[in-house]
């Protein structure tokens, strides 16, 4: 396989990284909102959040993407495939991240929340200044894990027409008939990206204050 082909794959992997990163970040914001809904004590909000999380965790991402891709035009919403891909991945990862965060929020010491209340923090202030930072710190390993899962899952957005790493490999296979070399190379690139994220994640985990004592 020529360097030319490999460099095309590398270029496409930038799209994979871009889509995954944006989706993880949007998913994180959505997950925090879902957690707020869960902690709000307002029943309809809690039920809505539970429904959302259960649906997106209980159905394959491929089906979610196919549904989204066909549902939006029917609803009269026209979006480029990049936006559809990001929306689909964000909604899915939000559900998984909310589930991860739930454990984190349970790990926030009660005393800290009570002290914040006593100090006159509003519920929103307590949530954003006390609960969220601690929950995020506690679930950092799970977040890194989720980032790797999304990098792999982003291969599915090829079905909504976005040319990322997997789709580029598919396109090149169609014109060169070298599936073995191309898919193996694509796999290698995914592996390198994921190992990098795993290593960086461990570094971050150890460097941030509040690392668990060994």
């Amino acid at each position: 396989m020529s360097w030319k082909l490999f460099s095309l794959l590398l270029e496409a992997s930038l799209m994979t990284i871009f889509v995954s990163t944006i989706s993880i970040l949007i998913g994180l914001v959505l997950a925090i909102l879902l957690s707020a809904a869960n902690l709000s004590g307002i029943r309809p909000l809690q039920w809505g959040g539970k429904f959302f999380i259960s649906f997106f965790r209980g159905t394959p991402l491929l089906v979610q993407l196919l549904l989204l891709y066909n549902l939006l035009p029917v609803m009269g919403i026209q979006m480029p495939s990049l936006a559809t891909a990001i929306l689909g991945l964000s909604l899915c990862t939000a559900a998984y991240q909310a589930e991860n965060l739930r454990g984190g929020f349970e790990g926030v010491p009660r005393g800290l929340v009570e002290s914040a209340d006593m100090a006159g923090f509003s519920p929103a202030q307590t949530f954003f200044h006390i609960r969220v930072p601690i929950a995020l710190r506690l679930t950092l390993p799970a977040l890194i894990n989720e980032a790797i899962l999304i990098l792999k899952a982003s291969s599915l957005v090829s079905v909504v027409g976005l040319v990322e790493l997997t789709r580029m490999a598919q396109n090149l296979v169609a014109s060169t008939f070298m599936p073995l070399e191309l898919y193996a190379s694509a796999g290698l690139i995914y592996l390198v990206i994921n190992l990098t994220v795993a290593v960086l994640g461990r570094q971050l985990e150890q460097r941030l204050p509040g690392a668990p004592a060994k």
Binding site: S54, G58, P60, T166, A169, P179, Y183, Y190
Partner: protein, 222 residues
């Protein structure tokens, strides 16, 4: 938008066939994954450092790459190295290899959770290695490996949807085909999502029941 599920539901024979294929692939794939994963974990535990390191590589590669890429590599690349498989066996094989890497890690953690003293005690009593695994290790780790195994089974159920991309006639492919033919793709996908959802919830429920059944074997906290 005309929302009409009847168009889809009138094709119930095809839909049920698709659901049957999904369940077949899922059950066989999960059992094969667990069996192969157990073999890998056992080989890594008893095969010495070299086997352990040699097996760590494929496990990490499989865990670090998307299932879709593995599937395409096997199905489209396989014929170039003399491995021409039909869609269904290719899908089953890919799913089993993929799942086995994750199951091997589940069993590895399970092996590590058993107190070494129990194994040593059994060895002192003259248990063979097979007996130690069968009588001591497996029962003791069963409770610990059950929840992640159920979780993995659910992940594999959702991954079976990808087999539609190599034309395995499971329920995602069936629903897509019917949806396109009948110009009711959204309805087909909604129904499809609902079916997966029900299957996933059922699998989770079964897992929790099994956990309850097993929990009476929980080891007393030391």
């Amino acid at each position: 938008m005309n929302f009409d599920l009847n168009v889809i539901l009138s094709k119930q024979d095809e839909l049920l066939y698709g659901i049957a294929v999904t369940i077949f692939v899922w059950v066989v794939g999960t059992l094969a994954s667990a069996a192969l994963g157990f073999v890998i974990a056992t080989a890594r535990r008893y095969g010495g450092v070299l086997v352990d390191r040699a097996l760590a590589v494929p496990v990490e590669v499989i865990r670090g790459t998307p299932f879709l890429v593995q599937l395409f590599l096997l199905y489209f690349g396989g014929p170039y190295i003399g491995l021409s498989l039909d869609a269904l066996p290719a899908g089953l094989l890919a799913l089993s290899i993929y799942g086995s890497a994750y199951f091997s890690e589940i069993f590895r953690a399970g092996y590590q959770s058993v107190p070494p003293g129990h194994v040593e005690a059994a060895e002192t009593l003259g248990f063979t290695r097979g007996q130690v695994i069968r009588v001591i290790l497996l029962p003791e780790m069963a409770l610990l490996v059950l929840p992640p195994s159920v979780n993995m089974a659910i992940i594999l159920l959702k991954e079976t949807a990808l087999l539609s991309l190599i034309t395995v006639p499971e329920m995602t492919m069936t629903a897509s085909a019917i949806g396109s033919q009948e110009y009711a793709f959204v309805e087909a996908m909604l129904l499809l999502a609902l079916t997966y959802w029900i299957l996933v919830e059922l699998a989770g429920l079964l897992g929790r029941l099994a956990e309850k059944k097993l929990s009476r074997y929980r080891l007393a906290k030391a």
